[in-house]
């Protein structure tokens, strides 16, 4: 990559600057800077709605090696705000490659920066926690003014911004079960895993109510992943309290897991810098087995707030012991913090979708 692009700057809320070059769209964008450690799956990361409002740094230095394609998207478009890489690949190579990373970012209106020492940046975030920042391609930007804006930035209405507004149905081949998938910013592969298992899936908006659910005659509820602070979703939490009373088998992932916990009176906390990668070990307490999982979250359910009456922590992060899953006692529900649907990342916990099927089928009998 001999041709250097236009200069670009990454400005952090603490005033630190990294200079690099522009990739993708030009302009200025502010967001919450997080780092992701997966070594493959950048297209999945880019199209994961959970990154809404965030500027994502890839810790692996070579990004775009296999280009992008139309099969690996996890949503209709890119929701993250900005993208930071050390190096993007001009000559990607893969039989499914349709586009270079740079073109893709441009098409998706994503402002990116390359040529940054992403390890140095990662270490800053690791030490100080998630930090706001901005990428700008302006040569003479007003640093003080931009800093003010950076510091004032907050991700709001995240779920609403990424959720669909109308229900949409997807038919499976076998049509064995009907599942309603709450779209808090769901990843396509959650839907695919359900379709694969013979579930007809109705994707519904985030604010769908218990009454609406009741009318749908469904066998199971899938609470999806999604962006932002779970506590912000007051309306959804209230809805869930009602929905639980319908006693429909429920499986929650990531934000869905957090919202379910909040609806049951448990609490969540913001992690210093979250878990974002494809290598997080999680212990399944029931199986006494450790699985490698794909993760992307900045908030977590506080384990102590899951009372004995409510249920138990079914999954724990093997590294920091944080809560990675809950099995509820009084309702037919279990939720996990990580991503059993993978994409990107390991498929080792896809068995949880099978467990969801068992939960549903047990109900029929």
């Amino acid at each position: 990559m001999i041709t250097s692009g236009k200069k670009a700057t990454l400005l952090l809320a603490n005033g630190m600057e990294f200079s690099g070059y522009s990739v993708g769209k030009q302009g200025t964008v502010i967001g919450e800077i997080v780092f992701a450690t997966g070594m493959t799956g950048y297209e999945e990361t880019l199209t994961d709605p959970s990154y809404y409002g965030q500027i994502v740094t890839q810790t692996f230095p070579l990004v775009g090696n296999y280009g992008t394609n139309s099969f690996d998207k996890e949503s209709d478009k890119v929701y993250l705000s900005g993208y930071i890489v050390r190096e993007w690949c001009e000559l990607p190579s893969n039989f499914r490659c349709e586009n270079t990373l740079a073109h893709f970012l441009e098409e998706q209106n994503v402002i990116g920066i390359y040529g940054v020492d992403t390890r140095a940046l990662t270490k800053i975030i690791r030490e100080s926690g998630v930090m706001n920042g901005a990428i700008t391609t302006e040569e003479n930007f007003d640093k003080e003014k931009l800093l003010e804006e950076i510091r004032a930035f907050n991700i709001v209405n995240a779920v609403k911004s990424v959720s669909c507004t109308e229900p949409k149905e997807f038919k499976s081949k076998e049509g064995k079960r009907k599942v309603c998938l709450f779209d808090f910013g769901y990843k396509y592969n959650i839907r695919e895993e359900l379709l694969k298992r013979g579930c007809d899936v109705t994707v519904v908006p985030y604010n769908t109510t218990a009454k609406e659910i009741e009318k749908m005659d469904i066998d199971g509820i899938m609470l999806s992943n999604g962006p932002g602070d779970p506590n912000e979703n007051v309306e959804v939490i209230e809805n869930l309290k009602e929905i639980m009373k319908l006693n429909i088998p429920t499986f929650g992932i990531c934000l869905g897991h957090q919202l379910m916990a909040l609806a049951n009176g448990a609490k969540t906390e913001k992690l210093l810098y979250g878990h974002r990668g494809a290598n997080q070990p999680v212990v399944d307490v029931d199986l006494d087995r450790t699985f490698v999982t794909s993760q992307n979250h900045g908030y977590a359910v506080i384990a102590d707030t899951i009372s004995e009456d409510l249920g138990y922590v079914s999954h724990k992060n093997a590294n920091d012991g944080s809560c990675e899953g809950v099995k509820y006692k009084h309702i037919k529900a279990f939720t996990v913090q990580f991503h059993p649907e993978a994409c990107g990342g390991p498929q080792d916990t896809s068995y949880l979708f099978d467990e969801f099927m068992t939960l549903i089928d047990g109900e029929d009998k």
């Binding site: 450690t37 050390r86 190096e87 390890r119 997080q280 990107g344 498929q347």
Partner: protein, 1066 residues
């Protein structure tokens, strides 16, 4: 699950001598395993025939047997030591195969020994071709169409079914020995025959050839609970068809999308789960470049060369974790030593890219076929780490010590476009350089891809380097250009050459260092493991500042890739030096680039720099470390060649100074030293041209020894008997530009003696004198070496002691010195002095009990021999005789003449220890893999000058009951002496009953073959020797060896009659 309570005493089997396909990586794995076991308070019993290893060190195990790795020996060790368990998966294929045999025979059960690591069922499922295929089919993992065959006819039949080309893979052989790709019936006939013979169970797999697919590997770990993780993925630059040990490899895989990556990752986990491996496992896949189709190529249910690479590439200690799993722990119980915060069930995330580059022995074996295929040929490898592929590749190439600092290879630059096109396929050792040259000449990526099937991604990266170099050469050297070149791994000197301009001082920048932490920066790690790059932040510098212990820092330079002449023994020395430094209260810093070794384990030194050992790379490290001193004495020629440069930089060199090294290497200065000491040496001169050489040779009198003045492992050395020999040699050597003169010496055919000594400037100590069985003329590394010397008179020994002291003092040696003598007509002559550690240090340290490297290190830092209780002179002989026997990898290298000479050919060594010389020799020969038979035939074909001397030897074999066979000249001579000898015809005569026929008929147990000239594969003598290799017949190319072997056979003992020795009790 915690440590199993039923384990107290574990037997560990090592991998034996270094051969192609099984090298230092198993010393690394074995050492890690032994340490992991000892950490748990278990008693460790070790058996390994390789004395040059760290794992056979007293610190590593409680009982150590340096004994032949045969079933009988292991059984006896089990009977003596009564271990309760056997760890099978850390000693390479050798250790695994032995363990499996012991288990299958029921020997382990009947002796109450539990098999740890893998069970026979697992091993069979992975290694027996048919059961592997069945297993894969059962779990739905695709295999390549293939069938197990036990005959040549069956092989031909199946091949015609699936179509050519086909790959032949013999079952249970090392590094794929005897395999190959057959394009037609004729080729298959030959390869299948050879493969069937080499396979211990006479089985080959005939397989559809999928050359051109991507080759991807995963390193996987599983525990007894069933937890599974992948440690690392790797992608080969060379597509399927080139053995992975001969491929340039990158980690992690780079051209796979997440879908493909996860598909293969999941397949790996399915495979290891089905095989129920408890420990490490390597899975190799072929992935179709234009679809999601893939096939499992091979699974190794044990630690391997790839797992060593993966460990170094990620910082995840696979062997250590595998050992802990074997004794009961699960992955979620083992803390990741790198972060201290995460557990072993965490998959490493990399934030850099790793390149592995093989090191081939073709500089030594000029007639060997350089073509790369399914048979591994590399002796070693280097690894490099960078923030870009370009940077990592550039570091790997210069670290491989190929005499190039970029991808521009002079040989390629001289070729025509057509020649270049022909060089890019099929693959050989310099293929990448040809590809680079092709790109430079404008050949398109697409065209090269179509010919080579190398992925466009790699070609695109090489093209980047082409573009950069053009840019550098074009116009003024700007700061932007300079910075670009630095980030892509170019040395300042290379940038100056390419741009034709001096780099302005204000541009120049020193490398910064980043940490290898297994987690891409997610957690604060404490690993002192660094690589260089060009960024602002210098993590090594911060590390040093934050952790400043107030201790003085010393850098130890390692020995780079394993090659013939510079093997694992230098790693042994480097590691011992580090240990000694730590013990003395210094901070020991290692710089090395060999991923197979113990020295590059991140917890060997206080800090590890995984970088090449070139001047600039070393200078950068020095700028960051600001060491008190540096050590170059233990890293072989690689490290010692830095000494002048380091001296110029003003760095404190610990031990022998640069000037002394120069005095020993510079011919004239060395002669002055000898003269001053009154020590004779063979007469010699220096010459530049063939004419000068012939004049000089005639003045000295033939035979003469010719060699370049800069020598490593006897590179390009010959003994010339005539003007014609001199002409031939000078023609070869002057093909490349002669910068240094050629040395020509009177060749004295006497007894060769070798001494390693330690000197502190006041006193010197010789732990032992070694005598070579083969007389001078055979390279010391290829000779059978005996300690203590067996035939020298006290007067000679006294002279050697006297000369050693004089030379050590005259050369101002502080530390180690290795001196080679020749005893000729009762006179002692000096052949060579190396003021550094040598190949024999580990073995002599172990058998004499004198920790030479420890002592030398202490001396460098000011202690004296006297302080340590050593007296000047020779240490009294030990009670045992130790015989070091070289081991060759001739089966792996077709067309290489096995005749030993002044040029070193062995890749490794074994040791035999016993009460008598003959017993020790027998052990050594058996350990080296020789089939010692007490009956059969001896085929003799020797050069004229050897014929007279052969008589006594032949008569010994006759008395021992062997049938003698010889070609007419030799046979007549022997028959005239009343030694009944059968006449065989020469191969070239094309008559019945030829030398080749008697070998093929299985009549021959030993071949004694010497020739005045060899090397050319077309010669009869070379053909006979090659045939012996192929048929596994002991072939002796020196009469001295033949004589010693006869004495050994005359004992009429087998290995079972000789006591086993626990060397910790010596």
């Amino acid at each position: 699950m915690p440590l199993r309570k039923d384990l107290k005493k574990v037997l560990v089997i090592g991998s034996g001598p270094i051969v192609i396909g099984q090298a230092a990586e198993f010393d690394y794995a074995g050492t890690q395993a032994c340490r992991a076991l000892k950490e748990e308070g278990l008693e460790v019993v070790l058996v390994n025939s390789n004395p040059a290893t760290i794992m056979t060190d007293k610190a590593m195990a409680d009982k150590i047997y340096i004994e032949p790795l045969t079933l009988d020996v292991i059984k006896r060790v089990i009977e003596i030591e009564k271990p309760d368990s056997l760890l099978s998966t850390l000693g390479g294929q050798t250790g695994l195969t032995l363990s499996m045999q012991l288990a299958k025979e029921g020997f382990l059960d009947s002796h109450g020994v539990k098999l740890l690591g893998a069970n026979p069922e697992t091993i069979d499922k992975a290694e027996d071709r048919q059961s592997f295929k069945d297993t894969m089919e059962k779990i739905g993992e695709p295999c390549i169409p293939s069938r197990v065959e036990t005959t040549v006819e069956g092989s031909l039949e199946f091949a015609s079914e699936i179509g050519y080309p086909v790959i032949v893979r013999p079952a249970f052989t090392l590094g794929g020995s005897g395999g190959g790709i057959a394009n037609n019936e004729e080729e298959l006939r030959e390869i299948a025959l050879n493969g069937l013979r080499l396979s211990p169970i006479t089985q080959v797999l005939i397989e559809k050839c999928i050359s051109g697919w991507k080759e991807i590997e995963f390193e996987v770990i599983r525990d007894s609970k069933g937890n599974v993780i992948t440690v690392c993925s790797m992608e080969n630059f060379d597509p399927v068809g080139v053995h992975t040990g001969d491929s340039i490899v990158v980690a992690p895989a780079v051209t796979l999308s997440d879908k493909e990556y996860q598909m293969l990752r999941t397949a790996s986990l399915n495979i290891i789960s089905e095989l129920k491996v408890e420990g490490g496992c390597n899975c190799q896949f072929a992935l179709h470049p234009e679809s999601m189709e893939y096939a499992v190529i091979e699974v190794n249910p044990r630690v391997s060369r790839s797992s060593a690479l993966a460990s170094k590439a990620t910082g995840y200690p696979i062997a250590k974790v595998a050992a802990k799993i074997a004794i009961g722990y699960s992955l979620d119980e083992i803390v990741n030593a790198v972060t201290g915060k995460t557990y072993a069930c965490f998959e490493p995330a990399l934030d850099y890219i790793v390149v592995k580059f093989p090191k081939w022995p073709f500089d030594k074996f000029v007639y060997a076929s350089r073509k790369l295929g399914t048979q591994m040929k590399a002796t070693g490898e280097v690894m490099s780490i960078g923030t870009s592929f370009e940077q990592a590749l550039m570091k790997a190439v210069r670290g491989a010590e190929l005499k190039v600092d970029s991808l521009n290879m002079p040989m390629m630059m001289a070729m025509s476009d057509e020649e270049i096109k022909n060089r890019i396929h099929p693959a050989d050792d310099v293929r990448m350089f040809a590809v680079f040259e092709a790109l430079k000449r404008g050949m398109s990526i697409e065209e090269i891809h179509n010919i080579t099937m190398i992925d466009e991604w790699f070609l695109g990266k090489l093209k980047n380097l082409v573009e950069l170099e053009k840019w550098l050469a074009d116009g003024e050297l700007t700061k932007e250009k300079y910075n670009y070149a630095k980030k892509w791994g170019y040395l300042d000197s290379t940038i100056e050459n390419m741009s034709g301009q001096k780099i302005p001082e204000e541009f120049k920048r020193s490398a910064s260092y980043k940490m290898v932490d297994t987690c891409a920066g997610e957690f604060a790690a404490e690993t002192p493991y660094f690589y260089s790059t060009y960024d602002e932040q210098n993590e090594a510098k911060e590390f040093i500042e934050n952790k400043d212990s107030g201790k003085k820092r010393v850098i130890v330079f390692g020995s780079g890739p394993i090659r013939i002449g510079q093997g694992i023994e230098f790693d042994y020395c480097s590691v011992h030096c580090v240990w000694a430094l730590k013990e003395l209260g210094y901070e020991a810093v290692i710089c090395n680039n060999n991923p197979e070794t113990v020295s590059t384990d991140f917890d060997t030194g206080d800090r590890l720099y995984f970088d090449p050992l070139t001047k600039e790379d070393v200078k950068n490290i020095i700028e960051t470390e600001k060491p008190y001193g540096v050590v170059v004495q233990f890293g072989g020629q690689t490290a010692i060649s830095l000494v002048n440069y380091l001296d110029e930089l003003g760095v404190r060199i610990l031990g022998t100074q640069a000037d002394s090294v120069d005095a020993a290497e510079d011919r004239e200065r060395f002669n002055e030293v000898l003269e001053k000491c009154g020590i004779p040496c063979p007469k010699g001169e220096t010459v530049f041209t063939a004419e000068e050489a012939k004049e000089s040779a005639n003045r000295l009198g033939y035979p003469v020894l010719l060699r370049p003045s800069y020598v490593l492992g006897g590179q390009n050395m010959i003994i010339a008997h005539s003007d014609q020999d001199v002409d031939e040699y000078m023609e070869i050597i002057t093909r490349t530009k002669l910068e240094n003169p050629v040395l020509i010496d009177k060749y004295m055919m006497g007894t060769e003696v070798e001494v390693d000594a330690i000197c502190d400037g006041k006193d010197f100590v010789i732990p032992g004198i070694m005598e070579h069985i083969e007389r001078a003329g055979v390279h010391s590394g290829d000779s059978i070496s005996v300690y203590p010397a067996q035939t020298l008179s006290q007067k000679i020994i006294d002279t050697i002691i006297d000369y050693t002291g004089k030379l050590a003092f005259a050369l101002k040696v502080i530390g180690l010195v290795n001196i080679q003598y020749v005893v000729y007509d009762n006179e002692v002559y000096v052949i060579e002095v190396n003021p550094r550690s040598s190949r024999t240090i580990p073995y002599i340290s172990k058998v004499t009990g004198v920790p030479m490297v420890d002592i030398a290190t202490k001396i460098m830092l000011g202690e004296t021999l006297q302080d340590m209780g050593y007296k000047t002179g020779l240490v009294p002989n030990a009670d045992y005789v130790a015989v070091k026997v070289p081991v060759f990898s001739f089966e792996k290298l077709h067309n290489v003449d096995t005749h030993l000479g002044p040029e070193m050919k062995s890749t490794g060594e074994v040791l035999g220890i016993a009460k008598t010389f003959e017993e020790a020799l027998l052990k050594g020969l058996i350990a080296a893999g020789h089939k010692i038979l007490h009956k059969g035939g001896v085929l003799m074909t020797v050069r004229d000058t050897d014929k007279a001397e052969l008589i006594d030897i032949a008569s010994k074999y006759e008395e021992l009951g062997f049938d003698l066979y010889a070609t007419s000249g030799t046979a007549n001579k022997l028959n005239n002496e009343m030694i009944a000898t059968n006449v065989v015809s020469k191969i070239s005569e094309n008559k019945p009953n030829s030398a080749m026929d008697v070998i093929n008929e299985g009549k021959i147990s030993y071949v004694i073959s010497t020739s005045a000239k060899g090397r050319l594969p077309a010669k009869d003598s070379v053909k006979i020797r090659r045939k012996a290799v192929e048929r596994g017949i002991v072939c002796l190319t020196s009469l001295d060896t033949a004589n010693a072997l006869a004495d050994c056979i005359a004992m009429n003992k087998t290995i079972n009659d000789i006591d086993l020795v626990d060397i910790t009790k010596i």
